[in-house]
Structure formats: structure tokens, C-alpha cells
């Protein structure tokens, strides 16, 4: 049995970056304020002092420019970790990510690999209002050629980056800023993780809760409450939003026959739309009730706390919804 240590999400991310920089000379971190400032969210604090400006590169505010440079450096044999401070600014780099990173392998008939890793702080929950609270996972998950990962747990915060750097194809990592201070126990020797499959975090037989990102801990908490009420739900962290691992949730449905998909992103044309469609396509005759969804309310995220909270599913929403589904 390995020893467990208490680690914040931030420190898990940071120790992954540090390990990657130590392991491979080709790895370097580039992004706005990653160096002298210590990272907008202090994830890279101290790394400039440890690794120097060649490995920890501050870049100007030019998202398209530096993201494209990261892609170019990857084309030419480096392993850049590009930090786009927040997903909100990634819209300015979308041309590079979608038109270049995601297409070059295909357009070149398999000649060119783009082993870039693009990290983005994302999510809602800190009263940052409409322009700084986006959930763009569905945008990126829409694009063939990208590998889109959602860091919903501390073990993934510690391990996903390392696995992403092993990928010959471009990886987008969604990191959730509302979880940065959250501490959890993870094995001391935690490291690289599988980045192909979803994960069943809690077994259950009455209903499958399918989620990702900040939904993961919310669903686990809801599952605890529901267990006290005699409802035994299974919790699945999708983790890999593209290429989506459907096997895991389809298997779960054949056991529970009921599914609720939970996410912060807006409801229309979302990850949950995709999950629900696949369940319908591939597990229709296992369904004992319609697939239900709890998603972000379709509104630019408002500033006041109570309205912000009401914009995305909370633990009590999940408990209430599951109860309704299991005890109509």
C-alpha cells in the first residue's frame, strides 16, 4: 500500500509540471505571467527560479501568436506546454488550435505531428461574470484531431499532464480554477494516468451519474447524500471528452438502466447532448427511463453569487433530480 499525502489541486498541477520539466529537456512552459508573476493562479510559482527563463517563458498578451508558436515548436521537435491563462482568452487562439494543431496531421497525409499540450484554467464559480466564466469544453471536444481532457480530480491534476506530454497529438487540458485550493488525499507516488478512458469513481446500481470537471466532486458528494436515503448511484468521470470513451458509461447503463448527465457548460450542443445521444443510439433497450441532464442555464454567467450559483448544477440540484428520477 502506498502512502497517501494531502495535496491541493494547485500543488498537484505544479508538481506535474515540475516533473515534466525534469524528465524531458524538450519540455518547456510558455504562457502569460507564468514566470516572473508566478502564474496567474500561482500554479507555476517558483518554477522560473528553479528552471530559468528558457524553460519557463513569459509571453506577451498575444494568444494566437504564442499558441501558434507552441504549435510550431512542437512541429519542430519540442514538447511545449502552452498555458492559456484562462479558457476565456483561448477564443483568441482558436484559429491556431483548430486550423493548425488539429488539422496538420491530416492535411499532410500523416507526415506532421503536433505534440503540443495546451493548458487552460477554466470554469465558473468565482464571481467573475460573463466574460471570465466560460465552459468551452464542448467547443474543443467538437474538433477531430484534438485530445480533450478534463481534470476533474486531484489524481488527474497530478497525472494527466505527464500522459498528455507522451501523446504525439495535440492535447487540450481543462483545469478548474475553482478547485485550486481544494485539498485531497492522493497516493504519494501518484503519477501519469491513463488518458483514454473514463473512470467509475463510485460503484452503484440504481442510476449512473455521468459528469466531468467540477461536476465530479459535486456528484460524489450528491452520491453520498443519496446513499443515506437508500439510493445507490454510480459516479462516472468522463475525463476524456475527445475521443470520448463511451464504453464505460454504456457498461454502467446496462447495470443501472438510468442516467443523469451533469455539466457546467450550456445545455444546447454540449457534452451532455453527446452523451445522451450515444446512450440513445447504443443502449436504448437498456433504458428504464429517459436520460436526464443537469447543465448550465443558458445565460451569460451573471456576477452576483446567488445568480452565479443558480447558473450551474449544484449538489442539491443533483440530489433532487436523482430522487425524482428514482422515486417519481
Amino acid at each position: 500500500m502506498s502512502k497517501y499525502i494531502n495535496l491541493s489541486y494547485r500543488d498537484a498541477l505544479k508538481s506535474a509540471i515540475r516533473e515534466a520539466l525534469k524528465n524531458d529537456e524538450r519540455v518547456f512552459l510558455m504562457g502569460e505571467d507564468v514566470g516572473h508573476y508566478g502564474g496567474a493562479f500561482a500554479v507555476s510559482k517558483g518554477l522560473l527560479q528553479e528552471f530559468g527563463p528558457e524553460r519557463i517563458m513569459d509571453v506577451p498578451l498575444s494568444e494566437s501568436g504564442f499558441t501558434g508558436s507552441g504549435i510550431g515548436a512542437a512541429l519542430a521537435g519540442m514538447k511545449p506546454i502552452v498555458e492559456v491563462m484562462t479558457v476565456n482568452f483561448s477564443l483568441l487562439a482558436m484559429d491556431q488550435i483548430i486550423n493548425n494543431a488539429a488539422t496538420l496531421l491530416h492535411m499532410s497525409g500523416g507526415q506532421l505531428n503536433v505534440p503540443v499540450v495546451i493548458r487552460m484554467g477554466c470554469g465558473i464559480g468565482r464571481q467573475l461574470a460573463a466574460q471570465h466564466s466560460h465552459s468551452w469544453e464542448p467547443f474543443y471536444a467538437h474538433v477531430p484531431g484534438l485530445i480533450v481532457l478534463s481534470v476533474g480530480t486531484h489524481e488527474d491534476a497530478r497525472g494527466m499532464l505527464l500522459s498528455a506530454l507522451e501523446s504525439p497529438d495535440p492535447v487540450i487540458l481543462f483545469e478548474y480554477t475553482s478547485m485550486l485550493n481544494l485539498e485531497k488525499e492522493i497516493p504519494e507516488d501518484a503519477g501519469a494516468v491513463d488518458i483514454r478512458q473514463a473512470k467509475v469513481l463510485k460503484q452503484g446500481k440504481d442510476l449512473s451519474l455521468i459528469t466531468y470537471g467540477t461536476g465530479v466532486y459535486k456528484c460524489l458528494e450528491a452520491a453520498d447524500i443519496l446513499a443515506g436515503e437508500g439510493m445507490d448511484v454510480e459516479v462516472i468521470d468522463l475525463r476524456v471528452l475527445r475521443p470520448m470513451d463511451e464504453e464505460t458509461f454504456l457498461t454502467s447503463i446496462t447495470k443501472t438502466h438510468r442516467a443523469l448527465v451533469v455539466e457546467d457548460a450550456w445545455r444546447s450542443v454540449s457534452i451532455s447532448s453527446e452523451v445522451a445521444a450515444r446512450i440513445m443510439e447504443k443502449a436504448f433497450y437498456e433504458l428504464d427511463a429517459p436520460v436526464e441532464r443537469l447543465c448550465g442555464v443558458e445565460v451569460p454567467i451573471p456576477y452576483p453569487k446567488h445568480l452565479e450559483d443558480a447558473s450551474v448544477p449544484q449538489v442539491y440540484d443533483i440530489v433532487e433530480k436523482v430522487t425524482k428520477m428514482l422515486r417519481p
Binding site: G65, G68, G72, Q96, L105, D169
Partner: protein
Amino acid sequence: MKKTASNKPKISAEEGKRLLHQMLLIRRFEEKSAEEYTKSKIRGFLHLYVGEEAVAVGVTQSLKEEDYILSTYREHGHALARGMDPGEIMAEMFGKLEGCSMGRGGSMHLFDSKINFFGGNAIVCGHLPMAVGMALASKKQGKKNVTCCFFGEGAAAEGEFHESMNLAALWNVPVLFLCENNLYAMGTALKYTHSEQKLEKKGPAYGIETGSVNGMDLMAVMEASQKAVDYIRKTGKPYFLVCYTYRFRAHSMFDAELYREKAEVEKWKKEDPIPKFSEYLLKEKMISAEEIQEIEGKVEREIEKAIEFAENGTWEDVKDLTRFVYTESQRS
């Protein structure tokens, strides 16, 4: 290949013939492409390089094998000048498996990693940040190669142009920003798109060494680009070179050319780099009229061969549609 740092290219008769051959090959290849397009053999967008040959041929002379080239959607000239096989390019445009990008890219996406030719990038200015990144990688890896990035003057209005110039200068990376100023961004003239039409003024604003040259004059282009590349190799810093040139044909095949006068086109045709260079060679007695005919004949045969290669190419099986989305050894 020129090795000396001398300002005036002293070309031999052999070199002169080779250069004329390259320009003619591009010219005839493009004309043939237009024909194949009207026959529906080539589809999608087709942007031809006719008129601008001296730039591609001139600039590539100053580059070495290990240098990287990134180009635009009007890149057949650059690819041919770099030495890509005409048959593979034609097959690519026919959409055949034997194409340089296995038919997946078409006219706008020619790639050949064997000769360090990185496209064929069809979002205007989208490849400039990548060029900076490739040069950054060279610097980090201690390589001495240059990244040459072709783009049109239309791209210089994009934000990414300014971001890339800033990054390249900030990081001191060996990239040649090679602007082919053919005066029209699609069909909109420079004067309608740039507040400062002397594009070479934009380089110094970023602290980038800058030059400009008549892009219709092969020898001048060779000289200017050699100077630029020598500077980059010596200092490791970027260089911005503006070539003034002109495309004789429409922007793409489906273009009524409402935006420019025929007289203007005719005026520029007097500057056609191919007759100009031929005359120079004849005057310097480096070539005879018969030899020029021989080169024409050789080019014709090469293009026939390219067409034949493309015609005989194979259509990829539809069952392979989803190849090359992810690296095959990784996710199959």
C-alpha cells in the same frame, strides 16, 4: 547553391539555365493547372502563381536543405522551387493517394516533410505564429537553420502578423518573414486595406531588420534574400523582406477581376520575370534561343508526366476516410 557572401549573384550559364527552367516549370505547371481545373480534374480553390515566379525561385536559392519553409495557399511555386515533385503536386490536386499529402489536402495544402516544406497553410496569416515557433525550436535545439515564411501583403493586416513580428524580435529567433506584396488581398487593393502602404516600415517598428526588393527581377530577389538569410544565420535574429510583385491571373479560378483594369495587368506583364530573365541570359550569352526552346520542351514533358502520374493515381478507399485524425500507432 550560393555560398559566398558577395552582394551580386555571379551566376554561371548552367545556373542561369537551371533558374530559367524552374521559373518556366512553375509558369507552365500553373497554366496546366488552370486547364485541368476547367475540366474539373482539379476542384476546390485553385490559386495560381503566374507572374510571381521570380520570388519563389529567387528566395529558395538562398535556403539550405535543413531550412524550414512555410507557405500560403498560393504555394505551388514555392513547392516546385523547393524541389517538390510536380507529379506529386498534380496528384495532390487531383485528390489522389499518390499526392504529396496523400490527396487529403489539395491545392492549398501541399506538405512534404522530406524537403522541410510545411504547407500549404490556407488561413491567411495563420502560419506566421507557427513559423516563429519552429524558429524558436531551432534556437532551443541549437540548430543553425532558418525558417522562411512566405505570406502576402493581405496577411500583414492580420493581428497575428503583428503578434508574430513582436514575438520573433522579442525572442530573437531565426525567421525570414517573406512578404509577397502583389498589391491585392484577393480583390481589395493595398490602398484600401493598409493605413501605411509601405509595408517595409512595419519591420523597424518591431526592431526587425527589413528590406524590400523588386520581386519581378530574379537576380534582385536572389541578392536581397541572400542578404537577409546571411543576416539571420549570422545574428540568429528575424528579418523582414518585402518583394513587390504581381499576379497576372485572377485571384482564383472563379474571379471576374472586377477590381483592376486590364491596362494595369498589361502594364505589369511588361515586367514578366521570365522574358526579362531570358533576355538577360541571352544578352550575357549564357543561353541561346534554341536552348530556351529545349527548356520549354523539357518542361512540357515534365508536365505531361505529372498529369499522367496524377491521372494514373488511385482514389483512396472510402473505408480509410478517418485516417490521420490521430497518430495511427497511438489510437487505432
